[in-house]
């Protein structure tokens, strides 16, 4: 039986959260993808590079999650659960590479919610945007994510 999702979440802003980049986490992430690029994995190569340290792969910000929550509260507010979710789209606009030890502020909001019928039945699309800023309050990245809820 189809479920209803709460379209009232459009415009919702999530509590901002802070992330500090860990050296080992960058390497663990690159290795999990099987990407053995020395600019991610080799500290000596990183030190000799234009960035002065290893950098994170382009999709590393997927690890930026609020430590306190598992996202369950938002799913309940939306009126769904994990088993109905699919990842629809993901986009990273990256203004510069990021390095171990850097601390960032992440501010997310729901920018759109809409429904559509697809091959596998009715679906809702939840579009979230996250602004990632550094300690100088410079924008480092903008993340756009579309989550699909199977209704």
């Amino acid at each position: 039986m189809p479920i209803q999702i709460n379209r009232g979440v459009r415009g919702k802003e999530f509590p901002p959260f802070v992330v500090t980049i860990e050296r080992g986490k960058i390497k663990e992430f690159a290795r999990a993808i099987g990407d053995l690029n020395p600019f991610y994995l080799d500290d000596r190569v990183g030190q000799a590079s234009e960035w002065g340290d290893v950098i994170a792969p382009p999709t590393f910000m997927t690890t930026f999650r609020e430590a306190a929550g598992d996202g369950g509260d938002f799913l309940r507010e939306l009126g769904t659960d994990l088993s109905r979710l699919l990842h629809g789209e993901q986009e990273y606009e990256l203004h510069r590479p990021i390095r171990p030890g850097e601390t960032f502020l992440c501010r997310s909001k729901v920018v759109d919610v809409y429904e559509k019928s697809g091959r596998s039945g009715p679906m809702a699309f939840v579009v979230r945007e996250t602004a990632v800023t550094d300690r100088a309050n410079e924008l480092v990245a903008t993340i756009r994510q579309v989550t699909v809820v199977r209704l």
């Binding site: 690029n37 590079s49 382009p58 690890t63 990842h87 629809g88 990273y92 606009e93 990256l94």
Partner: protein, 144 residues
């Protein structure tokens, strides 16, 4: 040669990136990626859960495939070159699937902040079915 330096001057519209072949996908890689990414959705780990959810069994995180596509881009353009990458997840990647990531140059432009190359990127499975489609923009150096 892997990680060869590519210069903006030498790139032409229509050029193709060297294909990057990943897989066959094994459960252990999905478990490892879950830990590295912090995404513990059981739909990627627990076959019973995935079947009960109507997905016919476990499938790979979309973000793992996006990571593969990003690797194809950085293997060619260099680590740190990606200014933008955006993808749509158009098909599921299953256990034992092989994922081939490809890309093609759509355009070039020079701006104050650098020399940019726009790419069409995608990934396909062993049957040639697209599982990821998208675009990327990379910054590239000029030859001295």
């Amino acid at each position: 040669m892997k990680y060869a330096k590519v210069y903006f001057d030498d790139v032409k519209v229509g050029d193709e990136l060297p294909p990057l072949v990943k897989g066959p996908i094994q459960q252990i890689q999905l478990t490892r990626y879950a830990g590295a990414a912090g995404d513990f959705n059981p739909i990627h780990q627990d076959d019973e859960f995935a079947r009960a959810a109507g997905m016919g069994g476990v499938f790979a995180h979309g973000m793992l495939s996006m990571g593969f596509v990003a690797q194809a881009v950085t293997d060619w353009a260099g680590a740190g070159a990606v200014r933008k990458i955006g993808v749509r997840f158009v098909g599921l990647v299953r256990l034992k699937d092989t994922v081939t990531c490809r890309g093609r140059v759509l355009g070039k432009s020079s701006k104050d902040d650098g020399h940019l190359v726009d790419l069409e990127v995608w990934a396909e499975n062993q049957r040639g079915e697209k599982v990821v489609t998208g675009k990327a923009t990379v910054s590239m150096p000029l030859r001295d």
